[in-house]
Each structure stands twice: as structure tokens, then as C-alpha cells.
Symmetry: C2
């Protein structure tokens, strides 16, 4: 968290940031399991052993990648606790969810889409209440109107999911990143159950 923030811009910062940037790219293209530490190191011009000076393990790199985003999502869930439930809250939550994802950039989207299970499960085992899975489950509960039909429950899940799948869906689209992310946010909002 020193020089480069978020890892979206050109990775001119410290070695740790450069490793994260390369890893994000490779994990997004090939998936976490199909990417080896050797491959990450070679892309950076040094050997695999040097990686272990900067990160304790392969999983540790992933944790660093999603750390800030996970924190923002947890803050969002926390914020909703003090709010009154209703349609306005639901639309506001969805807008903030899109904004969080927007901050991360398209490369992060592709990473999320390509490693859905990994991100969902990580941080879920330790003692504390961490994990993307738990946090997203809370968002489902907030966004789903009471007594919602199966279709409406699905609508809520799809509304959140397509934000994360934008990187995958927009792979061959000829448009700016900002236009794509804005369009995705509009479509997502339109997916929320009508009338609620």
C-alpha cells in the first residue's frame, strides 16, 4: 500500500506490486490452478525462489489481490445495518457494489470471473468471519425482498453476478472500459425485481 494503489496503473512501484500485477494478469488469463509460481517469476525476469521473499505462499498472493476489495464489501454490508430496509436501500446497495467493482478495473473483473470458487472460498476457513462467500450471502439477504418468488431471488443473484462477469462478457467488445462498466451497472440495476 505504498506507491501504486490498486495495481491498475502501470506497475512502476515496488516489487510486491509488480508481482501482484503480473499474477493478476496470469490468474485472469489462465486461472489460478493453471498458473505456476515459476511462470509468474519468469514474466518478471527472476526466479521462483525470489517470489517467496515477498510472499509466503501462492495463496498469499491471491489474498493480497482481493484484500482491499473484500474490505470494501465488508464495509458495505456493515453500512447497511444502520439503514432502513426498502427499495431505496436495495438500489443504493447495488450502486455501491458496482462502484466497488468499478474501482478494481476490468482486469480484476476477469480474474474474479475466471476464479469464482477460489475467491468465494478464500478467507472462509480461519477463525474470524471473513470470506467473500459469507459477505455476499449477507448482500443477498439485504437485496432480496421478503417473500420473493424464485424468479425474484434469482434476479437479485444475477444482478450481483453479472457485475462480476462483465470482464468475461465484454472480452470482444470494442468500447472503452468506462463505457462497458457503466452499461453493466445499468443492466444490473434493471435486473432487480420490478416493483420493489
Amino acid at each position: 500500500m505504498s506507491e501504486a494503489i490498486g495495481g491498475v496503473a502501470a506497475p512502476a512501484g515496488g516489487t510486491r506490486e509488480r508481482i501482484q500485477s503480473v499474477a493478476l494478469q496470469l490468474f485472469a488469463e489462465q486461472g489460478y490452478e493453471s498458473t505456476s509460481m515459476r511462470q509468474i517469476a519468469e514474466q518478471l525476469g527472476f526466479t521462483k525462489a525470489a517470489l517467496y521473499y515477498h510472499f509466503a505462499s501462492k495463496e498469499d498472493i491471491v489474498r493480497a489481490l482481493i484484500e482491499s476489495m473484500l474490505g470494501e464489501v465488508a464495509d458495505l454490508v456493515e453500512w447497511t445495518r444502520g439503514q432502513q430496509a426498502g427499495p431505496e436501500l436495495r438500489r443504493e446497495v447495488l450502486a455501491r457494489w458496482a462502484a466497488i467493482m468499478h474501482d478494481q478495473g476490468l482486469r480484476m473483473f476477469r480474474f474474479l470471473g475466471a476464479n469464482y470458487r477460489l475467491v468465494r472460498d478464500i478467507g472462509g476457513e480461519p477463525g474470524q468471519s471473513g470470506g467473500m462467500a459469507a459477505v455476499v450471502a449477507e448482500l443477498f439477504a439485504i437485496l432480496t425482498p421478503p417473500g420473493a418468488s424464485v424468479e425474484d431471488q434469482l434476479r437479485v443473484r444475477f444482478a450481483l453476478l453479472i457485475i462480476n462477469m462483465t470482464g468475461m462478457a465484454a472480452r470482444d467488445l470494442d468500447a472503452s472500459e468506462a463505457d462497458i462498466l457503466d452499461a453493466a451497472a445499468r443492466i444490473s440495476t434493471g435486473l432487480l425485481p420490478p416493483g420493489f
Copy 2:
């Protein structure tokens, strides 16, 4: 293709079908790369070497799993060539896409969602024009109205994509498989660009 069809029902059929059924389950739960041949074999009660009597390779199992579905999708693309382009065709194509996926069952959906890249790329390298990627790209072209905006192009891609993501989105839903798949098809149709 002898006794059990599709591998959805209880795998009482031949050994090949039982292997496919177990592999589909494990690939869906853990992903292709994180599932080993040893694991598949143990679940079936015999050793890894026996697997290679029935399938030439691990990838060969995946090919068998998506073979029939890939054939149906290719047929769908072929069928559209003789049709007149327009809104009716677009809605009909989407309905048929949902029907194809519907036939495969929720387990296949989960497998597709968890192994998106694998399925997309498989069969794309050989000499012929195979591969899910090529076939889906043609569907995009058919479904996208001429001169569509970025948002409308994204709508088409999301409409197809959420069908494949239904297994993931519906993981914790308390509803029958048929209800879930029907609801997903309705939501998908509603995502198509309005007015076209």
C-alpha cells in the same frame, strides 16, 4: 450412448457413463484442474489405471461430457442460417439455447460455470472449426441487432451467459430444478435489448 442418456439420471449404466457422472460432479464442485484422476477413480471404487482403459486422457473425459451439448449448439447455429434475421429469430434462438441447457440439468450448469475457460477453449485447436468459443461467437452475431449500442451488445452476452451461470447463482435456493431453470429462461429473455 448406450444405456444412460445424458448422464443426468442415476448412473446405473455402463462403466463409461458412471465415470462421466462422477467426473461431472467433481469437476463442477472443485474445477477441472483441482480434480485428479486418482480422485475420480477412488470415488468409483477402483484405481486410476482402470480409468485409462475407458478414456484415453483426462481431457478426453471432458470432451465426452460436452460432446452432445456442443453438437446441439452447432445445430442451432446451422439452423439459423436458413432463417430470416429479426426480433422473432432472436427470441427463438434464445429459447432454443435455454432449452439445450435445460436438457443438460443443473449439474451440467455448475460444471459449465466452474470451468468456463476450459469449455470455451476445448476443441478449438484442431483442424476443424469446432469449439464452444467459435459457436458462441456466431450466436452473439445472430442475436446482436445491427448498430447495437454497447449496452445492447452487453445485454445479448449477459442473456446467454446467465443461462450458463444459473447453477452457480441458484446454489442456495430452495426450489425445484425445473422452477429454477424456467425462471432463468424468463429472466434471460427479458435481458434482450428492448424494442428489437
